[in-house]
């Protein structure tokens, strides 16, 4: 980070659409922000925090950057969950050799959500949005790799035809 302000995206999802485990996410973020300390938080807790609570939550880790990620049954109730993804944006800079969050955007609750709003306006369908997300994931170097056993199961059930 070298004292520079840096923005990076946080992708949060249910695991229904795009599968990646928490550990892989940690590795990806750490490669971008090596000093970051990453905390995994249940989305339901996050939902209950609201924006103000979230800010306090982030402030609690003032010397460190925080990644909030998880899935939860309750998350289905969130409007943007219907799109199968949640997107957040973190602005971070280094302080005393450690990365620090200076801003966090999620949902449509802050001005930083503009990027997602643009995406929603630009895309007519959920599939298009997912494609855009996929491009973004590619840019971030996030890969989805299924376990080999999924292919055994997939081939077996494909044997029965449509």
């Amino acid at each position: 980070m070298n004292g520079e302000k840096k923005d990076f995206w946080i992708l949060l999802w249910s695991g229904e659409d795009i599968r990646i485990n928490d550990e892989d996410i940690r590795l990806i973020i750490q490669s971008d922000a090596p000093d970051a300390e990453i905390h995994v938080v249940n989305l339901e807790n996050l939902r209950q925090m609201g924006v103000t609570g979230l800010k306090s939550f982030l402030d609690g880790y003032s010397e460190k950057s925080v990644l909030v990620i998880s899935s939860s049954e309750e998350a289905e109730k969130m409007d943007f969950w219907k799109l199968g993804f949640i997107m957040g944006k973190v602005s971070a800079h280094s302080k005393g050799g450690k990365a620090r969050i200076i801003g966090f955007a999620k949902g449509d609750q802050t001005h930083c959500f503009q990027e997602l709003s643009d995406l929603l306006l630009k895309c007519e369908t959920e599939i298009e949005i997912k494609r855009e997300i996929k491009n973004l994931m590619k840019d971030l170097g996030i890969e989805t790799k299924f376990d080999i056993k999924e292919f055994t199961a997939g081939k077996r059930s494909a044997g029965g035809g449509i």
Partner: protein
């Protein structure tokens, strides 16, 4: 019309009777009235049970979101009042409902949670029931070894309680043997299930078993061209239909009529086949069973596509795809898009757009995604070289998975013979086999 009853007990009984007759809307009316009274008098236990009844009725109608909503409410109350059985039952139904969406991981989680509860309650019958559901789910998702293990455990538990509990596990075991092409074992399982149902005078179960046997017999016919199996499929279909009519089970009648449509089609009796499908559609439309209705549209479309009645096939598949999209029957949606791809490709062999849509629609579940991958690979083998190359490029645009991406790169290189080397050592063996055996024109 649901009226004339005043107590929760009476309304519930009427609701249950309506449910048994597949009069689901009427059942809902009674259970809603019972729910209102239960709430008014503050009987949380009754409220929980009525919510469960409503969930089951909406499930039967294919209104899965609503079913889930009711079962979730029932779950919350059961937890609040410490009703462990109610909690387990709600979790079981949530697992069942999510299966229709194709949300298999979520289903499995609910089933496992239910199992944990029934284990602590030492309820052998309920444990057996959950294990049978888990087995059913694992057959769908191709995890056959795990399915067998769970179904055998379910049978073992039922052996220690009541033989009736074995029926569902035997039916699922029959289905497992069928997908493994072990038809004789499958028929033995079904026969045993039928024997128990007959001994216990469970006629409604007999209808369901007969319908399952028809499917297995049809699979045997399709795999081995066994004429005996086709004949038996026909006989079981007739029995199931007669019994379902006699017992006034319109939902099962609809399923039997759909099966009759498939059997008649296999006998090349196209008009009869269409007539049975129409009757099946009408039955499901009358009772409002949207999921089964969509499945009948898909089966009808498959037969129409096979007889090259492509416009009609396309229309019916689109109806299924529309309903599947609207009602979030996600697995059915993927299947309809693959079928649409097949129908369009029959008309123009360079078209593959619907296969891309199918793959995109399958993203929600890795097992369905990988199944779609293989369905697509099988179809790629029949494509012209140039179309295949173009299709690979398009697939790379929409694919999200690393192994399949490597497969596509390696396949493109193999087809084009451009000498580019891709490391395929880490590929799953199933993809490697497809790559090695892919015909080069």
């Amino acid at each position: 019309m649901a009226s004339g009853a005043s107590s929760v007990g009476e309304l519930t009984e009427r609701g249950n009777n309506a449910y048994e007759r597949s009069e689901f809307r009427e059942s809902i009316e009674y259970h809603e009235q019972a729910l209102t009274i239960a709430r008014e008098i503050g009987d949380r236990g009754d409220e929980c049970n009525r919510l469960g009844n409503l969930g089951r009725a909406y499930y039967a109608l294919g209104e899965i979101r609503k079913a889930i909503e009711y079962h979730k409410q029932a779950l919350a109350i059961a937890r609040e009042v410490g009703d462990r059985r109610g909690e387990g039952e709600a979790l079981l139904r949530l697992g069942e409902s999510n299966m229709v969406f194709g949300d298999w991981d979520k289903s499995l989680q609910f089933f496992n949670d239910a199992l944990e509860i029934f284990e602590t309650m030492e309820s052998l019958t309920s444990r057996g029931e959950v294990l049978s559901y888990i087995g059913e789910l694992q057959i769908k998702s191709g995890e056959w070894e795990d399915a067998r293990e769970n179904l055998e455990k379910s049978l073992e538990l039922s052996d220690r309680t009541t033989p009736v509990g074995k029926i569902d596990a035997l039916m699922n075991l029959g289905e497992l043997f069928s997908v493994e092409d072990r038809y004789e074992d499958a028929f033995s399982s079904f026969k045993e299930a039928l024997r128990i149902a007959s001994d216990s005078e469970l006629s409604t179960k007999k209808v369901k078993i007969c319908n399952k046997i028809v499917r297995a017999r049809l699979m045997d016919f399709e795999s081995n061209k066994s004429k005996e199996s086709l004949l038996r499929a026909n006989n079981y279909c007739i029995s199931a239909l007669k019994l379902a009519k006699y017992l006034q089970m319109p939902l099962d009648q609809g399923i039997s009529l759909r099966n009759m449509g498939i059997v008649s089609f296999r006998y090349n009796q196209i008009n009869e086949s269409k007539s049975y499908f129409r009757q099946s559609l009408k039955k499901f439309q009358t009772i409002g069973a949207r999921y089964e209705l969509a499945r009948t549209y898909l089966e009808l479309a498959k037969t129409l596509a096979e007889t090259n009645m492509l416009l009609e096939a396309e229309e019916k598949t689109k109806v299924c795809a529309f309903d599947a999209t609207h009602k979030e029957f996600k697995e059915l949606k993927v299947r309809s898009y693959v079928l649409l791809g097949d129908i369009i490709r029959k008309q123009d062999s360079s078209q593959y757009g619907y296969y891309l849509t199918a793959l995109k629609a399958a993203i929600f579940n890795p097992k369905i995604y990988t199944r779609t991958i293989f369905l697509i690979i099988y179809r790629m083998k029949e494509m012209e070289r140039d179309t295949t190359i173009e299709f690979i490029k398009a697939l790379k645009e929409v694919n999200i998975e690393v192994h399949f991406d490597t497969f596509l790169n390696a396949l493109a290189s193999k087809i084009q013979g451009n000498g580019e080397d891709y490391n395929t050592e880490d590929l799953p063996v199933e993809l490697k086999e497809e790559l090695d055996n892919f015909p080069i024109q």
